[in-house]
Amino acid sequence: MENNMFLTLLTFSPVIGLVLLAFIPRAQVGALKLIGILATIPPIIMSLMMYAGFDYTQPGLQYAQNVSWFSIPVDQMAFPVAYQLGVDGLSMPLVLLASIIGFFAAIAGAVFIKKRWKEFFILFMIMLIGMLGVFTSQNLFLFFIFFEMTLIPMFFIMGIWGFEQREKAAMKFLLYNGVGSAIMLIVFVALFMNVWSLSFVEIKEALTNPISPFNIQESPSYITAGTRLGFFIALLIAFAIKMPIAPLHTWMVTAYRESPAPAVLVSSGVLIKIGAYGLLRFNVGFFPEAAQQLAGFLAALGVINIIYGALLALVQKNLKLVLAYSSLSHMGIVLLGVAAMNTVGFQGAIFQMVSHGLVAALLFFIVSVIFERTSTDELSDLGGLAKSMPFLGGIFLTAAMASAGLPGMSGFISEFTAFLGLFKEMPVLAAIGTLGIIFTAVYLLRAVLGTTYGPTPERWLKLADVQPLEALPMIIVLGFIVLIGVYPSVLSEPMQATLQNIVPRIGG
């Protein structure tokens, strides 16, 4: 096993910022903000380097590191826990996504956070480490630890810097996700008990290779289809909370309404993608047969998410809630891509994860800018903002278009591939699902037009347009959105080999 330190450096690079922040006095706000933003740049540079150096043809792990950490004696054996990092085509786009959103959210922090910057950025760095670590870890135990590392700082950020109902939202977030991670932990340990390994690659090999003892009916360590189905369903529940899938989504609505901008950016941009990532990596990767069996169910859940989310988004009177339900709806498309159980569908799912991550972060950033200027996010109070804030109006419309899936943007290619994958397998559900695209266009246009166009009330005439610091990340993110839209190979090629490695096992 090669032992490459690169991913460790990448994952823990925010530590530099953390240490620097700890030594800056809390009164030096400018310095704190500057360090907070600058500290998120090394992960971007390093993940771009990783992207560039990635070998497209190789399906397995790259930049892998494997160091033994400790072992816990259990019964007659030991439970060896290793420190294992690595990326493949599935996790690599998400590492890049996490670092881009990290940078974006840090700027949002500098712009929108109004007190206690030092603590904010320190917590933010811990969360960033967790986010990067979740996608780079190749070991169930490590995955769990990084997963928890995103939860706790998020709880603090929501609870300290949020709006009126912040404490309630933070508690709800913590309990829902706590239940999710508890279920996940049980499955992980139970999995270990069965296959005696914690490494993703080894577990996948053990569970899917037809000649491994776990798959031969006569072998004593054979794992029955029923057990596998049980694991699958338990994991599905855990990730459904995280993702979120209706009806386990209520924490998200409260959280997005009450959280400060950077927390919403991170959550909608990255954290809910962890659920989808887990679904692909663990549910589909480890239990392809069970996934195949439940594909119809997953697709149905996906369609419910899309339609339910879209309908609710349609009737919301609050801009943030429109976007929150829109996120729910868009995660349904990820689910559809997964349910397709073929290369195209998976590709669509990952495309949608990345695309929605960027678009949702951008949209929430825009709403925060509006809220900052007007102190309201009620649709009825807003209107005609384009007159005083033309740049913002333009970006908002563009982002909404990207979200609605306009060709030339990342949303289009994502939805297109996800539905393409599903149409092959379940045309009826796919057809119903496409209704969501129409709804999306309707509710987003309603929201955008309702805020930026129409007559401008007196009180909104003197609003300042977007400042350079706000414009910079918006343009960068929009650049990525367009880049993926016009040149999708930039995303699809690296993941091709990995996905092809998953799919033959499913027989799709």
Binding site: S71, I72, P73, I145, G159, E167, M171, M193
Partner: protein
């Protein structure tokens, strides 16, 4: 060689050096206290006690790895099991003394300062005897020494009504628990004619085969119920909230850590050793079933109820010490899980968790003491805005609470994880499930304090003055909690290699 002292002279008394040290220090403390009654500041008595703990710990380390030694006709036994528990007790008591320096130093609340210090040490002596006893009589003597000292410690704030009530409740309940334990012991003696636990292990199976099943089960239950008092587990847990609330905070910390650990030392040693040999072949000559297997299930159920009761009742508390009492009941539930799964590693798991518990709970109580005394309120809202008053204390408290809740990366997480895993290995899924589910419930109240510290404005923003000794405790506990969380392997390996527990259930040759 004949001597006028008889067999007494032939024992290797040096293995009892830790106990002698504590005894000598207690004596010294009373004498010094007597001759220096004019000195106003009594804290030097406490320092003497801490010094005693350190010297005793050094002697315990001398015994580590020395094999099993039995003296006093097999009733006092020095082995790995006893040694590690003694280290926990010594550390816990030293921290308690250090904590109480400030508690006692200011104000007139505790008028008998000297007594406070040496009662803590006599309680400690009791626990040390409990850890080393291989005989029911020694065991009981140790237990009573601990109990009587604790009763007085709980009531030592004699002008405080709540403290009086607590002491009274503790005394009555404790006396009943002792009586129940003793009643159980009397059955065991009646059935086997011996009080030595290794002889018991040999003779109980015979008694069992002779048709005394019911009596043996009864003895077990009486013993277990009596001892569950000390560990504050269901079914004898009701005293804990009142007593924890009424006792002086250092005493509460002592009860929750040292006294509890001592209870576990007893339960694990006595119950397992005495009952392990009892096998029920059944009336129809079917497969033999060890009595332990049946006991396991019952202990499992009690563990589950402890976790459920502790964690759900804690949700409703607004007094922080009451909340910690329910938390402590819940933790006792977690600690009983290894017993219910019964593997060769159960001692290791328990000890690992107890060490983690020692660090996180002592740290938490040190902070609770400072905060509640400063605000003159034990309500959870006393913690409001603590972060602004003393960021470091708030951060440390957060770590302790996260550790108690079982969130990585902390000692508490690994302790819980270790227990959890072993119960899954033994296919005790329901117990593991309850453990995880109640842990999630516990987030609610542990994070409730965190919420107060960071998210609520306090009545005052003035900096909180933290005495140096408390800083020492908090820093040590913090380093320990996080350190064990990052590299749990070090402590695990140390316990695994230096304290071979298998020897505890075998009689020394």
């Amino acid at each position: 060689m004949e001597s006028r002292w008889g067999p007494l002279a032939q024992y290797d008394w040096s293995v009892m050096a830790p106990e002698f040290t504590i005894l000598a220090v207690v004596t010294l403390m009373t004498l010094i206290g007597l001759f220096t009654s004019s000195v106003k500041d009594r804290r030097f008595i406490g320092w003497l006690g801490i010094l005693g703990c350190i010297v005793a710990a050094w002697f315990v380390f001398q015994n580590v790895g020395g094999g099993v030694v039995e003296i006093l006709h097999g009733s006092f036994r020095v082995d790995a099991y006893g040694n590690i528990f003694k280290l926990i007790f010594l550390a816990g008591t030293a921290v308690t003394l250090l904590m109480s320096m400030n508690y006692i130093g200011d104000g007139e609340e505790i008028q008998h300062q000297d007594e406070f210090y040496y009662l803590a040490l006599t309680a400690l002596l009791g626990t040390m005897f409990m850890a080393s006893s291989a005989d029911l009589i020694t065991l009981f003597v140790g237990l009573e020494l601990l109990s009587i000292s604790s009763y007085i410690l709980v009531g030592i704030r004699k002008n405080n009504l709540q403290s009086n009530e607590s002491a009274f409740k503790y005394l009555i309940n404790g006396a009943i628990a002792s009586a129940i334990t003793l009643y159980g012991i009397s059955f065991l003696y009646g059935l086997s004619g011996t009080t030595n636990i290794f002889l018991l292990a040999e003779r109980l199976p015979e008694a069992f085969m002779a048709g005394n099943q019911f009596m043996i089960y009864l003895a077990f239950f009486l013993l277990f119920i009596g001892l569950s008092f000390k560990i504050a587990a269901v079914p004898y847990h009701m005293w804990a909230p009142d007593v924890y609330q009424g006792a002086a905070t250092p005493v509460t910390a002592f009860l929750s850590v040292v006294s509890k650990a001592a209870g576990f030392a007893l339960i694990l040693r006595v119950v397992i050793t005495s009952f392990i040999g009892v096998v029920d072949f059944g009336s129809d000559g079917g497969e033999p079933v060890g009595m332990i297997d049946e006991i396991m299930l019952i202990v499992g159920i009690l563990a589950a109820i402890s976790m459920i009761v502790g964690n759900t009742m804690a949700l409703r508390q607004s007094n922080v010490k009451r909340m910690m009492a329910y938390s402590s009941i819940a933790q006792a539930g977690y600690l009983l899980v290894p017993f219910a799964t019964f593997t060769v590693l159960m001692f290791e798991q328990t000890v690992f968790y107890l060490i983690a518990y020692l660090m996180m709970n002592m740290g938490a109580f040190a902070i609770i003491m400072i905060v509640t005394r400063d605000r003159d309120s034990e309500d959870i809202s006393a913690f409001a805005g603590l972060y602004h008053r003393s960021p470091l204390l708030a951060i440390a408290m957060t770590v302790f609470l996260l550790s108690l809740a079982g969130i990585p990366i902390s000692a508490g997480f690994f302790g819980k994880f270790y227990i959890f895993m072993s119960s899954l290995v033994m296919q005790n899924y329901w117990l593991a499930g309850i453990m995880v589910a109640t842990s999630v419930v516990s987030y609610f109240y542990y994070f409730g304090i965190i919420k107060q510290m960071y998210m609520r404005p306090g009545e005052t923003d003035s900096r909180l003055a933290v005495p140096a000794s408390i800083i020492v405790i908090v820093v040590l506990a913090f380093i320990g909690t996080v350190g064990v969380g990052l590299v749990p392997g070090t402590l695990l390996d140390y316990i695994h290699t230096n304290f071979p527990f298998a020897e505890m259930i075998m009689a020394a040759k």
